[in-house]
Amino acid sequence: MNNFPWLTVIGALPALGAVVLALLPKGRDLLAKQLALGFSAVALVLALVMAAQYDPAGGFQFVEQHNWIPAFGVHYALGVDGIGIILVLMTALLTPVVILASWNDAEGGRRSVKTYFALMLVLEALALGVFSATDVFLFYLLFEATLIPIYFLIGSYGGPRRSYAAVKFLIYSLVGGLLMLAAIVGLYAISVTQTNGNPSFLLSALTQLSIDPATQKWLFAGFFVAFAIKAPMWPLHTWLPDAAREATPGTSVLLVSILDKIGTFGMIRFCLQLFPEASKWATPVVLALAVISVLYGAILAIGQKDLMRLIAYSSVSHFGVIVLGIFAMTSVGQTGATFYMLNHGLSTAALFLIAGYMIARRGSARIADFGGVDKVAPVLSGTFLFACLSGLALPGLATFVSEFLALSGTFTRYRVPAIIATTAIILAALYMLLVYQRTMTGPVTPAVEKMHDLRPRELAAVVPLVLVIIVLGLFPKPVINVIAPAVDSTMTRVGVTDPKPPVPVTAPSEGAK
């Protein structure tokens, strides 16, 4: 099975599903939904089968490589390391969950129901490709291509101001994409000169180039700004709250949990690996922006009156922690940051989907329009509380392990940013418990009196998220073991090592069990 093109097959499945959906006759909405769920579920099963064969020792695995445009050195090259496979798995898990949760969300859209689910499948296929592309040009193409389905998902199925939100999102992303394109062209030019006219866009080839420091800085900036827009970092974040508010909950999950991860994924995969010197040069600025994002996002989340915007701002804060962990350049920090990408994806998905259930019932996303829901819909309230606790990184849940590792990895090298960012755990408690209090507790308000509790389908969509968040919170070892070797090779590439503790302790029980 070693030569089986796992990544291509897993990515092609949802794409095929999208084609099948497109060919369905009108009016077969239910069949379209079932097929969408089926294709994404099979992709998940295959992804799990593939992951079972992944060797945690590290390195790129399930590698496929074919020449595509030899003249430019472009390859169809796929492969995943420990970071990539985690995000591939997350994408494969979240898509069926989102499809199940969004069962009835497309009915009022401008386009047909089957298009909605077909677009989701297209997005899944592209995202899987982005996380496994090892050719920079291929990555770029897929990266830009994700804009198409997500643009239509926001613009065609969202709230009243969806066009504004979709265009705003598109312009932001295009600006970032253009900067990255310029940087890629620059890389190409360097590749041409340094390889005597045999350029290659393969990541492995590009990391061999020696780029002079000044050029590195410019190219780094091109990539970084594109990724900082994606991951939304302050001050490039303002597209996210609008998009999250106007999009359907399922779209918001795909956008924030999956697509935004391309930003932080890209920082590790491309910014650090291609431009190690420039990355070190930019670290102070990036850390400052990350710390601002952490606090700014948290404070704005406290001030929000809209459920979806609140979740979006909380994500700005959490992305700040992820970026902090990445640029702290410690193994603990980067492992935590990568783990947080997964956990933030799951946790935010739970928040968006359950908030979506609430909004669908109440017909409003305003926090003030709820109150006392716990009394009438305890399961809805209980799952929402769980998602909130995961959002505030309660110890025992997966988000805590990753947030703590990211922050403490930062602390070992950069005390002040870590201390400032850690105070955000107070703010997180505030915005999460405030929204729970305002919506779920207190006397039952007339508007929610008739609200029914979660339906089995709705519950079935969130239960997998809840389970994974709990299990990884108590037993994070398998995932950390997969991530750690990839982080080590990134750090070797950048040329940094962990700061040595001044009073090292050799634990007697280390590795005993």
Binding site: G186, T193, P395, S408, T422, L434, K477, P501, S509
Partner: protein, 644 residues
């Protein structure tokens, strides 16, 4: 002091691996955790048996804990500590965390307190919550609490401690807000969690500093090497851990949540907000004795925090008419005593734990007694509406009276032994601190006598349609058990088998300080001050009829005490209002500032594009050509730069 450090190293670095009965250690935590999960997920079916399973779980843990305690008794003092490594939690080379448990002389005290007093309170709750339709959920939360608290005291790595630490915070949040249809309960629950998170920042940063300094957060690693890290690191760790302890144990300046926490059902107040969870801060400081012994400045801070809080809590307790809030003020104050003792180092650790245990008995006794009173009085909490209840609730009265005698420190009741030791140790270390502790004892006698009189003595001041009745046996038997503990617990812990001081010595060390007066004179002095407090209460409260409405014209001190010494007012002015302003300001800034620039830019580009519209033909191929041309231009430019 050096003896205690080496003792610590011995206790945790050379803790034996769990075998025999000790290999079941993990079950102590797992049983209530599993039970909580089963109860909470059981749906309607669990209504008929949820409370029974809920009681069985802590009892099972208690039996396990007691068995292990007796097994420990059979071993020599240096062989009693037993470790059980469960699994690798974090496998990184730079940060390796093993989820493991440490049962030693210190943690076994807590295991027995949590599961013993916890079981009694569970049984009581069967009766107390009998009419609540969500009783099943209540027991699920209680079990969750017990599991988290046991993890907190049994974990052998600070990161794992932190999981239990916030776990009890979650349980506390859920239980304070158990009647969350009341906005006051929901607000109090959130406040408790958020204030605790302030403390948790301290604990988080402490673990981070451990990682940065030692590369580990295990007890063995940190305590064994903190001496080599220098006073600076030890002091920083000491202050950070103290911040965490202040949050959890409601010590100044993070005390404000505890009084509001009385919104929770009374068994919760007894178990979490009196007997166990709020003492976790004392546990943390005592457990970290190896750190504090290296950090005199942090120890002084612990003493000061304890002293301030013991006086604050006592003063607040004097002015409250709500029986639960009066008791909550008292809890703050008593934990202040424990903190004070813990701050004294090896001279005080054992006394801190001693008082923690006796306080667990008598305060749980009194809180449950208060619950029994409320049960008979239509959930009335205002003591001005009580009076003369001794005839109507004889068992409650009798058991409460035992708790009363125990807390004010009358021999031979439990509190006498433990509090007397703390006052003595405080005097030996510093006369002023000792005086504060002594005055605190007097105020304690005052407010407890006031409470006792207003509730059980004097005349009826009941509201209409109040028919007080004694609680059912499922509630009174737990009261009797706790009052027995409040009688014999003090002398038992002080003397049985060499006493708690020598029991704890291998873990926390021991140091005897000479008090300025003889022990007998100290005891006499303390008892005299207590008598003064009782007499003052009689003079001010019992001489005339208790007014049903709280008097308006009162001294400034009373006004301040009624308002919790302005703790909330301070928070509101210094934190809440400015915080709200900042939030409002930033929201406006985000809409007009950051987004305004973007939208302005968009408008500008829009205008510009109007001018260049002629270039836009609408043909995709010409766009593609332009893009290609642009890209080619960049390539050329780059190549030129490289080639030149």
């Amino acid at each position: 002091m050096t003896t205690s450090v080496s003792a610590m190293v011995l206790a945790s670095e050379q803790a034996g691996q769990a075998s025999g009965v000790f290999s079941l250690m993990w079950l102590i935590v797992a049983i209530p955790a599993l039970s909580a999960a089963v109860i909470l997920l059981s749906g309607r079916a669990g209504k008929s048996w949820g409370h029974l399973l809920g009681c069985a779980a802590p009892i099972a843990s208690f039996v396990l804990g007691a068995t292990m305690f007796f097994a420990m008794l059979g071993r020599g003092p240096e062989e009693r500590a037993v470790e059980q490594q469960l699994y690798t939690f974090i496998p990184l080379p730079s940060y390796h965390v093993t989820a493991g448990l440490l049962l030693d002389q210190l943690s076994v005290c807590f295991v027995l307190l949590i599961t013993g007093v916890g079981s009694i309170i569970h049984v009581y709750s069967v009766g107390y919550m009998a009419h609540d339709e969500r009783r099943k959920r209540f027991f699920g939360y209680l079990n969750l609490f017990v599991a988290a608290m046991l993890l907190l005291v049994l974990a052998n790595d600070f990161l794992v401690v932190f999981i239990g630490w916030e776990g009890v915070g979650l349980a506390s949040y859920l239980l304070i807000g158990f009647w969350q249809h009341k906005p006051s309960a929901a607000t109090a629950a959130k406040k408790a969690f958020v204030v605790n998170r302030v403390g948790d920042v301290g604990l988080s940063l402490a673990v981070m500093l451990m990682l940065a300094t030692f590369g580990t957060s295990s007890f063995a690693g940190v305590f064994g090497h903190v001496g080599a890290a220098g006073t600076g690191i030890a002091t920083a760790l000491g202050f950070l851990l103290l911040l965490g302890a202040c949050g959890k144990s409601a010590q100044f300046p993070l005390q404000s949540w505890l009084l509001d926490a009385m919104e929770g059902p009374t068994p919760v107040s007894a178990l979490i907000h009196a007997a166990t969870m709020v003492t976790a801060g004392v546990y943390l400081v005592t457990r970290s004795n190896a750190i504090y012994d290296q950090a005199p400045a942090a120890q002084t801070a612990v003493v000061l925090v304890g002293t301030i809080t013991l006086l604050m809590g006592a003063v607040i307790g004097c002015a409250k008419d709500d029986i639960k809030k009066a008791l909550a003020g008292s809890t703050m104050s008593q934990i202040g005593y424990m903190m004070l003792a813990a701050g004294l180092g090896p001279a005080g650790y054992a006394f801190a734990i001693f008082h923690l245990l006796t306080h667990g008995f008598f305060k749980a006794d009194m809180f449950l007694g208060a619950g029994s009173v409320m049960h008979g009085m239509n959930d009335e909490v205002n003591m001005r509406r009580y009076g003369a209840l001794r005839k109507y609730l004889p068992i409650t009265f009798g058991t409460f009276a035992v708790g009363y005698l125990a807390i004010i420190g009358i021999p031979p009741f439990a509190g006498f032994f433990s509090k007397d030791k703390i006052i003595e140790a405080a005097f030996s270390s510093n006369v002023w601190i000792g005086l504060c502790a002594l005055i605190g004892a007097g105020i304690t006698a005052f407010y407890m006598t006031r409470l006792m009189y207003m509730t059980f003595l004097g005349h009826k001041r009941w509201a209409k349609d109040t028919h007080p009745h004694e609680s059912p046996p499922v509630m009174t038997v737990p009261l009797i058990l706790l009052s027995v503990l409040s009688i014999v617990g003090g002398a038992g812990l002080a003397y049985a088998g060499g006493g708690i001081v020598s029991w704890l010595e291998p873990v926390v060390g021991e140091k005897h300080l000479e008090p300025p007066l003889s022990v007998a004179a100290m005891t006499a002095l303390t008892l005299a001050v207590v008598a003064l407090g009782v007499a003052a209460a009689w003079w001010f409260v019992a001489r005339r009829e208790v007014p049903v409405e709280a008097p308006v014209k009162v001294s400034p001190i009373t006004t301040a005490a009624r308002k919790d010494l302005y703790g909330d007012a301070f928070n509101e002015v210094v934190l809440m209002r400015p915080g709200q302003e900042v939030t409002r300001g930033l929201v406006a800034f985000d809409n007009r500032g950051v987004d305004g620039v973007v939208n302005g830019l968009a408008a500008f580009v829009g205008g510009l594009s109007g001018m260049v519209r002629r270039v836009q033909t609408g043909f995709v191929r010409s766009y593609a050509l332009v893009m290609f041309g642009g890209a080619a231009l960049v390539v050329v430019a780059m190549l030129l730069v490289r080639l030149s």
